[in-house]
Structure formats: C-alpha cells, structure tokens
Symmetry: C2
Subunit: 381 residues, 2 copies
Amino acid sequence: MNPKKIEDQEQKTLFGLGEKETLFRLEGFGKKLIEEVQKGEEPKFQMPLRSRSNILYDEGMKFLRIGNKKEERRFVSVGQAKKFMQTIAIANKAKKFISEDLHTSIRGLYYQLKVTLGEDIDEELFSEQSESNELIEDLEVALSVKREDFNLTTDRKGVVAGPLKIMDTFAGEETIIDGTKMGRSGWMIPSDVDNGMEFIDVTAKYVLVIEKDAIWQRLNEDKFWKKENCIIITPKGQASRGTRRLIRKLADKGLPIYAFTDCDAWGWYIYWTIKTGSMNLAYLGRDFAVPEMKFIGVTMKDINNYGFLQKLTINAKEVDLKRAEEMLSYPWINAHKQWIEELKMVLKTKKKLEQDALQGQKLTFVGEYIKKKIEINDLMP
Amino acid sequence: MNPKKIEDQEQKTLFGLGEKETLFRLEGFGKKLIEEVQKGEEPKFQMPLRSRSNILYDEGMKFLRIGNKKEERRFVSVGQAKKFMQTIAIANKAKKFISEDLHTSIRGLYYQLKVTLGEDIDEELFSEQSESNELIEDLEVALSVKREDFNLTTDRKGVVAGPLKIMDTFAGEETIIDGTKMGRSGWMIPSDVDNGMEFIDVTAKYVLVIEKDAIWQRLNEDKFWKKENCIIITPKGQASRGTRRLIRKLADKGLPIYAFTDCDAWGWYIYWTIKTGSMNLAYLGRDFAVPEMKFIGVTMKDINNYGFLQKLTINAKEVDLKRAEEMLSYPWINAHKQWIEELKMVLKTKKKLEQDALQGQKLTFVGEYIKKKIEINDLMP
C-alpha cells in the first residue's frame, strides 16, 4: 500500500463540485459540440469505458476503478445517433435544473425529457427510463461530474446519530443538524452530503457502520455512541450513494471506520462494497470507496470465542457458499490470510451467523462485543 | 357512518399502555395459568381468532377488524403443547425486557429464546424464527397488548418533517425533536411512537402522506411544509407500523390526513392499507387505521385535467388490472362512486400514472397540484 497515493487522490474528489464548476463543464461540453458542427466536423465525445474489461483493482489505492480505455460517442452513426441526442438532452436538463436551483430524481428527469422533447420532435426520444439511467452514467464519466452535482437526487436509506454537527445549507436556509439530538431515532442520511453540507463539529473517535437497523436501534438505546464517543450509521442493508459518501467524508476527516455485519454473503458484500467499491459503481472510484475501513465482525472465529454462539449458527445457503468461493478468488480479498481462513471455515462448516445472535445471552452484549474487539484490535482488514 | 362509534373507540387505544399496565397483563396471564395448574385444571387461554373467517369490515367504524370468534390454546393437547410452551416463553421474555427497560427486535427475541431455553430443556423449543413471529401475534391479541409495548422494535422506514415538536423520552433522556429543523433530510420515524413520545406542539394544518421518497424530497426542497403549514411524511412505499401509528396519532389530534400516491396497484394498496388497515394486521384494529384519510391523487381523471399527463401514462401491468378488479369487489371501496369510476377507467384504458409524472412540465408543479386539489376539495374518499 502506498499512502501517498491516497493522499494525492484525496485532493481530487469529484464530489460537491458546486454549481459554477458543474455548469462550466456542461457548457464546455455543449460548446465543443457546437464548434465541431460549425467547423463542418462530426460532433463526438470521448469517455472512459465502463465495461468489465476496463474495471481494475488499484493495488496502490486499494479500490475498484475504471482503467484508461476510452470509448467514443459519435453523432454520425446509425447505432449511436439516438444515444448521442439523448445524452445531450440530459445534459441540457441538468443545466436547467442547476440554473433553477431545483433537484429531482432520475425518474423526474425522465418525465421532463418525455414532455419537453416531445414538443420539438416527432419521434419519442425516450420510451423507457432504463435508457436515461445508462446515459446519466455516461455523462457522469464523460464530464467527471457526479449525478448529485447535476441536481439529481438518489434513493435514501441510511440513518446516522452521534457526536457530529452538520451545517446544512439547503433551499436558501441554514440548519444545524446535531447528531446527539435525535432521540430514539436518527437523522435520515440525505441523498447529497456534499453540496452545501459541511461538518462543523465532529468530536467522535470513530465511526461504526452497522448493517442492520435493528442492531442500530439496540446500540442507540444503549447510548453506545455517547459512551464510546462514536458515530453510529446503519446503511440498512446495502449502502445508498449518500451513505457511502458520508462514510468516505468521515474517513477523510481522519476517523477510523469500523464495519459490523452479519457473517454471511450479504453482510460481506455490504462490507466490501463500501470498502473497495463495486464493479457497477467502479466508475465513481475513490469518492465511493473506503479502503481504510476495518471489519469488526461477525466472524466465524467468534463461534470459538463465544461459546453461546455455537448453537446460534444457521445453515449457510447456496448463495452464501457460492459467494464465499467467489470472494476467495478476488485478489483484494485473498491477499489477507484472515479472510482466507474465515471463508474456508464457511465452506467447511456450511454455517453462517447473524449479528442479532450476539443478543442471545443478554441484549447489551452487542455493545460489549464491539468495544472489546476495538480495544484488543481484533479486527480484519 | 357513525362518528359516535369512532369517538368511543378513540378512548380505547391499546397503544402505549406503558410499563405498569403491560407488566400487569403479562403477570395476570401467568398467574391464571399457575392457578389452573394448582387447582389441578388444564392450563389454557382464549384469544380472538385471526383467520380470514373472523376478519370483517366494520361498517360503522370504517376499518378492518377481527370479529368475535375465539380460539383456545390448550396445554394438554398433542398438537398444541409445544405452541403453548413457546407462547409462555415469549411472554416471559417480554416481561424480562420490560423489567430491564431494554428493547430488541423479534430476531433478537428469537435468539434469546434459543439460548436461555436451551439451558433448561433438552428439546429445541424454537428452530425457526417464523414460529416466534406467529406467537407474538397470538400474545398481542390474547392480552390486547401491542408488540411495541412488549419492548419489541419493528422495522423503520418512513421519514417526517414539518411543524411538529415531539418530546422524546428515551433511554433516560429527554430530547425535543423539531420537525422544522431537519434541513435537507428528515427525522426517521421510529419504531415506537407511543411510549415516551408526546407531541408538544403541532401547529400544522394538515398531514400529507407521500408514497415516494423522491417526491417527498422534491416537496421538502420547495419548503412545501413551511408554505402550506403541513407535516410531510413519506412511508417510502408500504407504511411501517411506526409510520401508521404516527399518522393515526396525528389524525387523533384532529389534523386532516391526505394521501398522495401513484395511480397504480401498489399506490392504491398503500392508501387503503393506511386507511382501513389490511387483512393481515386486522387484529390491530383502529390503532392502525385512519378511516378519516382522504385521497388527493394521482387519479385517472387527472389525465383529462392536465393535458401534459396524456403522454406520460404507462401501460398497466397484469397485477394492476387484477388489483383494480379486486378493489371493485370490496364493499368499502365500491361504496364510493368516484372509486368505481377510477377503477373502471383503469380497466378500460389499461393505463397507469406515477406521481413523478407531475414534474414533467416543471418540477415545482407537484406542490401546486396538491395545493389546488386541497383548495377546491377535489379529493376522493
């Protein structure tokens, strides 16, 4: 590992570009195409290729990203003319949303494309939303602008609480969000945690990412975040874009990030997706990866250390075993002896273990387990 | 309709019983069984039957509830002895959780049952969580106590913002939750909105329930709740128990409740489940129903009133058409001429319409649409 590289990269986050820079890139994109037309040239643009063949694991920076292969979108091409026009239509809408200072979802964008374009041209430019989804990704990579900066909202799913204060500048108003004042619940992690959202006070020692909301509720009731001076986040399963960005931003603040998931295919997937990114979102690169993240558990080894867990294992499903085998083949996973041991134990015993099982003897044991694991540094890479 | 009846019922909410009353009922349940054993009688208990044959639509009170049929759980019965013991084990755990003043999920309960019971008896009393789920419902109806009062947390899913202040007494601390201070996001609606949770200031004129989070985000950005002085809630699809209870409690405060969903099978289902309750949860009765709720849209009729929606309809799926036919057969729906017209229009045109489509011409139209519908009272029952 080369920490220098990560540091360099840190300066280059492509999130929260702001209105001015995003508009500049969109306008530059349009101007270049117009110039080509005026010069009698064919309008075209290049972008990094997003297909599997161009996704690589960056050994130095420890996350999945896209490589150097490019592809070209050309206007004078039977196969590409429609896509080309669609991409420009989306860029045009993004510019409009930013100028209006209004946000919408990609579904809202899709309906706007259907209505307003229909007025100028006869043919229906978009018939399915899936078409526009793919082209938004095109535009994200082509311009190195994230959809959040195009004023597109994304699905929200996670919750946060604990000692962090956020200055939220939104729709012309400033609000201070205090993560210690959320009571029995928590603050829903928003879609965009970059533009107009600043940490003003983060006194926490670390961040705990808890797969399941039920366990988050358990720890919140124990005031775990207060006693341990940490931030507790649950992605509620697979993490949304906003949740992944929030974790990345907290890691950039220098906070250690610990993950606590089930010991099964789904739990591991959640961990590794947050840590190294996923194939599908590799084009987002480091902005969506947290290579520094460490894994607390649940591990197969815990079964030996905590006797009562013995009878709380569940039979692993076919998907768990298949996933364990796949994981053993990933170089970023099989580089770690501890993960090899864990995965082999799953394949041998054909068992899995849920984080909920830690409550078997007493409800408050969940917090004790986490505390001890961090204390004695019993963590996995 | 007989408003008197609803008023009567209002006094009888079985939610938020509090620790003392819940313990009293649990202890009463146990004492009765012990007395029967001591008298040499067979321990047994009665409870309302939850099967379809005992679910009825209450014409007077306008929601689904269970009828007067009872069933009996007997200890001296080959088919019931295990279930009987399991139910008592669950009651015992509930008592423990309340005494400890700690909450857990039904999954946490299941693991506790597996560990501690295993110490005393040889046979495994619970092998699947599905067993304990069903028995929790048994205990809820047998004792007229909701699982939230047994200190069992449930899945959380909805978000709320707007002019309401809540005093949250939780884990020994008091926090004031201010729905106007949630910035770009919102307060996650908790699992239990009864015990230790009080409205201290609700100045809103009405409550708007928005099916989709993306549309909630749109309206939150427009500060719709501020301009209209209303509370905005999104269940994020089908409403969780906590979200349904919160809506019921706000209705009990005298606030009108308006629903805004897609014009399709799923959207209607969300509306009617909140309004009259569902078959599965009919045993929860009025505590989980909001018969006063009105439907804003989206409606098929909107297509005639807003020209641009014409080309934004989507082909209805088989499930939408099947659901529309089913709905036409429900007496609580076909009692309303407007719903008959809507459903017949769906079946005739084989079309549906999403709430997102309202953004087709301009993003802020969503709020204008809602405002106007309420103003001119263009609402469905």
